[in-house]
Chain length 235, copies 2
DNA sequence: TATGCTTCAAACATCAGACGTCTGATGTTT
DNA sequence: AAACATCAGACGTCTGATGTTTGAAGCATA
């Protein structure tokens, strides 16, 4: 299997600094499974002495590993290898999406492509639990009292998360989940417009129906309709 | 537009630490375009004094921003806002993919889904320059002397990178480019097997032909064939 | 016994200061 | 003009000390 051999840093120095060495050292340990999720690392002082660097340098390395989601630093307690290495996988990615100032059109198109991949993945190897979750959130949405529909957006998110769960491919699942977190504020905003709830329900139902029918053509089309409808509803 | 409101750190402290404050401060400055790509930041000492933290804490923050690809630290020179905020967008993502130990099947399936998205994106709004690059790398590959074909894998990579460039959607383009970097060692290895070069040429040619013909069905099928053929060739 | 409070050691957070090394620019020599 | 020497400024690293937080052990009380 391939390894990440190039530095994650944007430094121009030809030789690695102490901090970089420590960071790569721990990445290597993780790759070789010599340290595992949940493991408690030795204290900063011990680690620094053992690796032959100062505490300051070791701290810089740990902060980097923390930002990458590889370790979790608990003040006053200790530093642990992240329990769930998949969580927030794309947060740095999405942060930079914001910064790059991509147009909303490209963003929507990207989501549509990925969401279509999700339904394809579901059709290829469906996860019954996820499909069940989709049905449940649809029922709840339908049964929702229009008078107090503050939580409707949460059901919307639940539907999409269940959809992610239904996907048999963990990679596309992670990608889609992270993407959802990015769209969450927009989805929440959508439900402030009256009438959008009913529309969302219908659009989501169409996706679900196409999935249980096993119709890829209809499913991808339903995804396209849902996103197009969502964009229109947000205007 | 949505903003990244949650911390990038995996810390359990309820209130932000000094380092986190500094990191978020610069993210905010970037989002508000108060600092721009290429800008030279003040020196560490000045910055630390201005933000009311020690130089050590400021350095930890800068190391994090560097790992996230937001700033570039040049030793002996200064710290700059990254010129290309899109470069290496998914490196942390792919690093963790390695760590999560996903099976090779899921990885290949993921690549296939994304690569199909790339061709769909190309068909939707093609970039002539990228298409031209694809053609060029195919010609070079065909003209390659089988006796010294050490650089064949580079032409393979060139083809895929041109394909990424041909995609009109920057997001899928970035995703695919990062994915390619991940697969590069495997692609390189493939070309050590004799006969694979000819096969790759044919499979790539099929993708290109389908693209210029504007046939989505044929293009996605060609992508599937290429990856399947590649998997078989590597065994 | 079970509960609640206190105490305390360990670990992370931060700071201040010092020195090393590298880069780019300037000046000098050949 | 080209090669070398020098210098200021910036990042890299180290040391040692102090502040804060956490979790658990110990103790007192009901």
């Amino acid at each position: 299997m391939a390894t990440i051999d190039q530095s994650l840093f944007y430094s121009t120095s030809p030789q690695m600094s102490a901090v970089e060495r420590v960071v790569e050292h721990f990445q290597e340990l993780l790759l070789q499974r010599k340290i595992r999720p949940g493991d408690l690392l030795p204290s900063e002082s011990v680690l620094a002495k053992r690796l032959g660097v100062s505490r300051g340098s070791l701290r810089e390395a740990m902060k980097v590993l923390s930002a990458l989601g590889l370790v979790e630093i608990k003040r006053g307690n200790g530093t642990y290898v992240c329990h769930d290495l998949g969580r927030g996988l794309l947060d740095p990615f999405l942060l930079r999406l914001n910064l790059l100032g991509y147009g909303i059109e490209q963003l929507m198109e990207f989501r549509m492509l990925i969401e279509m991949d999700v339904v394809r993945s579901i059709l290829k190897h469906p996860n019954p639990e996820g499909l069940c979750g989709m049905a449940t959130s649809l029922e709840h949405m339908a049964a929702l009292n229009p008078a107090h529909a503050e939580s409707a957006w949460e059901l919307d998110m639940a539907f999409h998360h269940a959809m992610a769960q239904a996907s048999g491919n963990v990679l596309i699942q992670q990608l889609y989940t992270s993407l959802l977190r990015f769209f969450e504020p927009m989805i929440q905003k959508t439900y402030q417009v009256p009438g959008n709830r009913e529309m969302a329900l219908q659009l989501h139902q169409a996706i679900y129906d196409a999935l249980v029918a096993g119709d890829e053509q209809a499913a991808t089309q339903a995804v396209a309709n849902a996103i197009d409808g969502w964009i229109k509803g947000g205007e």
